[in-house]
């Protein structure tokens, strides 16, 4: 397939996009690395006023960290020349990985928030239910809103 026939993003919005996703890429990569380091270190990490919580178990921190890291690398390698479809696909893929991660984390929160716990009643109390959704959040959940920007570009490509 020829490349030149593809619809290019308009050049100015394309450079904004490139900068945006490059920055997002750097942050995401950093989060991914932090995940892996914290897991290797063994202790859970909660940042300052409890916004960010980096899990330390092999599954969420280790494998999950690997996925977040890959998402970051997808963003970084796709940001350059983002108007080109194959490059843009990498950025989209970065966001898809974040959605899988954040989706898993949020679904986990939901399933934990509903039952009443071992000694409690059948269902959780309203307070207990809501408390589950309070910060700190896992990296992917924090990245989620920023990753959604890709949708804008998907719908405004042509």
């Amino acid at each position: 397939m020829t490349v030149q026939s593809q619809s290019q993003l308009q050049s100015e919005s394309s450079s904004t996009a490139a900068i945006y996703f490059a920055i997002l890429g750097i942050v995401t990569t950093a989060f991914g690395l932090a995940d892996l380091l914290v897991t290797a270190g063994g202790a859970e990490f909660v940042y300052g006023t409890a916004i960010l919580e980096i899990p330390n178990d092999i599954f969420r921190g280790g494998w999950g960290g690997l996925v977040v890291l890959s998402a970051g690398l997808f963003y970084l390698s796709g940001a350059k020349n983002i108007g080109e479809i194959h490059q843009f696909a990498k950025v989209a893929m970065g966001s898809i990985l974040i959605w899988i991660m954040a989706g898993s984390d949020i679904f986990a929160m939901i399933t934990e928030s509903i039952p009443g716990g071992e000694d409690g009643s059948w269902f959780n109390t309203l307070d207990g239910f809501l408390a589950m959704y309070a910060p700190p959040y896992a990296p992917a959940v924090l990245l989620l809103p920023f990753s959604l920007v890709v949708l804008y570009y998907i719908y405004h490509r042509d």
Binding site: L66, A89, A92, I96, A108
Partner: protein, 413 residues
Amino acid sequence: MTLSLEERWTLIDKISRETVTFGKYEHTLKDAIGELTVKPLTGIPVAIAIMYGFWSAFGSFAGTLMTDGFFVKLFDGYWLPWLQGAFPGQGSWLYSIMVDAGGLGGSEFVLSDTCFEAFGVLTSGIFVAIGVVLPAISIFYLMLALLEDVGYMPRLAVLLDTVLHRVGLHGYAIVPTILSLGCNVPGVAATRILETKKQRFIMMTLLAIFIPCGAQIGIMDKVVPALMGWILLYLIIGYFIFGYILNKVVPGKAPEFLIDVPPYRKPLMRNITKKIWGRITGFFKVALPFVMLGCAIVNVLYLLGVIQWLGDVLAPIFVGWFGVPKETAGPLVAAFLRKDLAVAQLSVINMTDYQRITAVVLVTIYFPCVATFAMMLKEGWKELIAAIGVLIIVVFTYGGLIHLIGIILGVAE
């Protein structure tokens, strides 16, 4: 009249030139993303992410929400105590089989606290089937149906083609393997898409031996969550080692064929619900009776002393060769009917973590469940007998090897 191959293509060429016009085709985002998922460098992270999502959703829904959130409470808190009181004739045979064996084998009758310990058909049997396995397979089949309908499976096949070729299998072998993770029966059926007898035989044997089904994975995740990683690792390594060996010793060819990759499609809600519904009703018709029957048979054998006798007779093998307690004999009998039940029974035997890993791996590889057995028989009795031969060798060598590794690591004796 029939045409030769060339004539036919010439004719098709002519016809299509007259009737088909190929317009300018633009590479879409979907195509570009499709390419990313099959190239190794980008495809492997995607595959890891998908597995992550699969496993996370599985644990959250089946484990956290359904089983631990509601069913354990329901069965241990209400169902078990109620039945223990309402069912007549405590200590009688029927009571032991149906409700609570009260610490089987022990001299004194003690009422059990949990549905895992009770062992009764109406307690453990129903709890395992409804409380643990049903939620597990529901979410499992939902995820599987999504993967199937989106069109990810053929891409995974392309991605894994090189790796699987090492074990004499085509990349497409991943399709039966993944289907087997739901249930081995459709997995065995799906081996028909492999070209040669050799490939089919290797695939079928590996599936029956090394791939745990969704029901079993569900219960494993419930009773030995911390050891899951090790158990799965041992199974995957075994799959490749014995695949490699089988490829070397089984005569025949393992030819190439091109994998046809369909475009990604949006899954149809209607189709997804239809699939899940079909599989859940199938569970009630086939699996549930088998779980209960398995429970009953094992209980009867216990009461007759057969299991204890078997344990004593086989003790040298169990203890000496595999390094697991001789009580494992009971679950191994149950494993023939239902592996999920066997894993549940293993969970109440007193043993070290490493022994538990070994025991669960043994239950998985030791014998296909009856349903799989029947399906393999349908594919050919010669293959089935050969597969059983392989299986016996694998159980002894691999089981011994795992024990040996434990000794070397200093976690077994």
